[in-house]
Amino acid sequence: MKLKQLEMALEDVDVFEKPKIHLEQYPTTPHLAACFLYDAQNRFDDIEGKMVCDLGCGTGMLSIGASILGASYVCGIDVDDDALCIAAQNVGHIRFCTIEETETQGEKTEADPSGSDAGDEEETRIKMATVAVEERRWRARACYDTVIMNPPFGTRCKGMDIIFLLSGLCLARRAVYSMHKTSTREHLLKKAAQYGLQMEVLAQLKFDVPAMYDFHKKSNVVIEVDLIRIEVPPS
C-alpha cells in the first residue's frame, strides 16, 4: 500500500467530541499517523502480522492504521471511556474493503458478494481496554511485538511522556514507536542513554494543532514533532 492511500483511508477516522485538556487530547492527524506507521512497517517490518498495542489510543487513529497495514491483533488502550466509544465506532465504520480494492488495481471491479463483510472481519482484529497507563499493575506480561503511541507530551502532567515510554517498553518485545516534541529531543536522548536504551529519531514532522481549547489564542499552531523508535533490549 502507498503512503497516500493509507493517509486517505485514515481521513474518515472521527476525532474527540469533547477533548479533555488534562489528558492532553490532541488528535493524531491522518498524515502524521500514516508517516508513522508506514516507516514502522517498511523500514523495520514491525506492523504486518504483528501483535500491536496502541497506548493512549484516543479515538483509534494509530490502531486503525496499524490494522490496515496488516497487524494481526491490535489492542488500543486509553483511560478515557468517551474516546474509546468513538474509537469503537471508528473501527466499525472504516471501510477496509475499499482499500483492498484499490490495492489490487481494479481486479475486484465486479461486485464482490463478500465485500460488505470485509469491514466486520477487520473489526475483530482491533480490541480496546480502559486502563490508566501510569498504573503499572494492570498488565500481565510483555507479550506485544510492537507498541505504538502518540502520548501526552507532558506539558500538563509533567513526566507523563516518559511514563508512557517506560510502560511501552514493559509491554513490547521488538520496539516502541512514539511521537514527542522536537524541543524535548535532547532530554529524551539523555533519558534513553540513562536507561541504556537505543533510541533513533526516524523523522521530524509537523503536527497541526487546531484551536481546540479555550486557552488557545491562535486559530492553528504547527509544532515540530519527532517520530522516534526505541529498540527493546534483549532480556
Binding site: T124, K127, T130
Partner: protein, 123 residues
C-alpha cells in the same frame, strides 16, 4: 473482549498478587469468525498464560478439547489448533465483569471494552 485480550490483563488492585487470573462473569457474548493464521497462533500460544486461558475458556463454554497444558499443544494437529484459535480469538464477551479473585473487586465489561480503572480511594 476476546480471551487473548483477557490474557494480557491483570488485576490492578494493589492487594492482588502479581499476574493473578481475572475471573470472567459473562452476561453476553458473541462469536465472530476470524481468519485462521497458524504462524500467528503459534506465537500467541508461546506467550499466553495457559492456565488462565483454559480457566477462562471453560467459563465461556469453549474449553472442550483444549490441551491441559502448553506442552500438550500439537501444532500439527489442525483440529486442536482450530479449537484453540476459536477460544482465543473468536469469542467476544460484550457484557459482563472481570473479577479479581483475591479482593472480589469487579471490573465491568461494556460494549466489549473492559474497564480496569480504579477509584480514587483504591489507588
Amino acid at each position: 473482549m476476546i480471551l487473548l485480550t483477557h490474557n494480557m490483563l491483570a488485576s490492578p488492585m494493589k492487594e492482588a498478587s502479581k499476574q493473578l487470573h481475572l475471573k470472567i462473569e459473562c452476561e453476553e457474548k458473541v462469536e465472530k469468525e476470524q481468519e485462521y493464521n497458524a504462524d500467528f497462533l503459534n506465537r500467541m500460544i508461546e506467550r499466553i498464560d495457559w492456565n488462565s486461558f483454559c480457566a477462562a475458556a471453560q467459563s465461556l463454554d469453549v474449553g472442550n478439547g483444549l490441551p491441559e497444558s502448553k506442552e500438550q499443544v500439537d501444532s500439527s494437529n489442525e483440529e486442536q489448533m482450530k479449537k484453540i484459535h476459536h477460544a482465543l480469538m473468536e469469542v467476544d464477551v460484550v457484557k459482563g465483569s472481570l473479577v479479581c479473585t483475591e479482593t472480589g473487586r469487579k471490573f465491568p465489561i461494556a460494549a466489549g471494552i473492559p474497564n480496569m480503572l480504579l477509584n480514587q480511594d483504591e489507588l
